[in-house]
């Protein structure tokens, strides 16, 4: 596992285009466009990205959007609140399945 998730690998992200230029470029164009200021501010998008980074458990994304947040002046309290939002969604998505468990339990029980 030693060669997985080395911090410096993030620097090579752009190189994925080398083995599939067209798809790689299309992805980066899309990615860049998504993070531009729109109806949502860049700051809001950065916090969403940080929350998602934790939900999908991507170490590269966590590094990238923690740094992005610092650059934007986002405080550590705001970052933690965003992470909790993602965590609550994950917990909720898990727990809502308990309704299925309850339904099945009741169906199978006398």
């Amino acid at each position: 596992m030693a060669e997985y998730y080395e911090q410096k690998d993030l620097r090579n992200f752009g190189k994925i285009t080398e083995w599939s230029e067209d798809l790689g470029n299309k992805f980066f164009d899309y990615y860049t466009k998504v993070f531009e200021e729109g109806k949502l501010t860049g700051r809001e998008k950065s916090l969403i990205a940080l929350a998602v980074a934790h939900v999908v458990k991507c170490p590269y994304c966590i590094d990238a959007y923690t740094k992005d947040g610092l650059q934007r002046g986002i405080t550590k309290e705001e970052m933690m609140e965003a992470v909790h939002t993602g965590a609550a969604m994950e917990a909720g998505a898990n727990l809502v399945h308990a309704t299925q468990m309850m339904k099945k339990y009741k169906k199978l029980s006398h």
Binding site: Q7, K8, R11, K67, L70, Q71, R72, G73, T75
Partner: protein, 350 residues
């Protein structure tokens, strides 16, 4: 947080040649392009000066603070101070220069015992924009400095001061315990004198630099946040906020190495290289004079002991027309001035 300069702590990285050696090797040997290679790609090498606009004079490396990021490695233990003889040489140049801006920096320039005399003499030359870079806390450090705002006002000085954040935690983390509260007091004192007030001609600008291994964000949005927070919490006014990138030299380089952030930080700088910023880098319209009268392309080159590429390297041999024919000396630290919106002592450059 350190209370002494790297030099006083006898750290090897305090030496300019060690810093340059570090910047030359490692990641720049096999992974990242050197600054020279990068600007060659856009036909900007060799880098040449444009019209001289700013004469920046460093009055000495002595300072009442020991900030974590300081590119000067300034502190109370630094004894390098400009003498009155060198000041006289500077005054001769100030009287004849074509530059419209005079920019006094340090250390804390106010700690030079001849600071007030020098300002009084230099202001007679009728320079259009006369800047003093004040760290703010010096105004509160001792009774003898309390009247500095009035002194600045008398000579129509444009005050530019560092303020890394609107929170006590972040400011003190970078600049030392108690710095935030003293800075707030000093800003209020400056405001009371008329500095920074809306429509006031007494200019007060603040400088933001990131408190860590990341680049500054958009200068305009930062200014908005600073104005909003400082006014709401303390009733403080100021004019502009300049966002400055930390350059990988001296204490900030030491921090990057110790925290194992060096390679990622350099990669961020190279990644954020903005060709448009090269046209306006400050070394193209600025000349920096050190405490001992030597000439440099900028204050950063001064700290790396990279004197100008000219046989006229001292203020006593000053010949503006000839010096303007030189080639600007560059190294990897220059990436700090070309990243994103670019960075200079006056903030963004694009």
């Amino acid at each position: 947080m350190a209370t002494k300069s790297l030099k006083a702590r006898d750290r090897l990285i305090a030496k300019a040649n060690q810093q340059l050696k570090f910047l030359k090797s490692g990641i720049f040997e096999d992974e990242l392009p050197t600054f020279k290679e990068k600007i060659s790609e856009i036909n900007q090498h060799p880098l040449q000066p444009k019209k001289l606009e700013i004469l920046q004079i460093n009055l000495g490396y002595m300072c009442n603070q020991v900030c974590d990021h300081c590119h000067v490695d300034a502190g109370p233990d630094r004894k390098e101070i400009m003498t009155i003889e060198t000041m006289r040489s500077c005054l001769r140049v100030i009287e004849s220069t074509g530059a419209h801006t005079l920019d006094l920096t340090g250390g804390a320039p106010e700690m030079n015992p001849n600071f007030r005399w020098f300002v009084e003499e230099a202001s007679k030359a009728g320079i259009q924009d006369f800047i003093v870079r004040s760290n703010l806390t010096i105004i509160e450090a001792n009774k003898k400095y309390h009247d500095l705002p009035n002194f600045f006002k008398k000579h129509n000085i444009h005050v530019i001061s560092s303020m890394p954040h609107w929170t006590e935690e972040k400011t003190d983390q970078q600049r030392g315990k108690g710095v935030f509260n003293k800075s707030i007091k000093a800003l209020l004192r400056l405001n009371q004198t008329g500095y920074g007030m809306p429509d006031s001609k007494l200019k007060l600008d603040l400088v933001y630099n990131p408190s860590g291994a990341f680049l500054p964000t958009n200068q305009e949005s930062l200014e908005k946040s600073f104005k909003d927070k400082l006014y709401k919490q303390f009733g403080i006014h100021f004019h502009q906020l300049f966002a400055i990138t930390n350059l990988p030299i001296s204490r900030f380089l030491d921090y990057l190495i110790a925290s194992e952030n060096y390679e990622d930080y350099m990669d961020s700088l190279v990644e954020a290289f903005n060709p448009a910023a090269v046209a306006n880098v400050m070394c193209r319209n600025t000349l920096s004079v050190s405490w001992d009268g030597f000439l440099y392309d900028c204050d950063f080159n001064q700290m790396l002991e990279m004197k100008i590429d000219s046989h006229r390297q001292h203020i006593n041999d000053y010949d503006e027309a000839e010096i303007q024919q030189r080639t600007i000396r560059i190294h990897q630290h220059c990436y700090g001035c070309t990243a994103g919106a670019g960075s200079s002592c006056q903030g963004n450059i694009t």
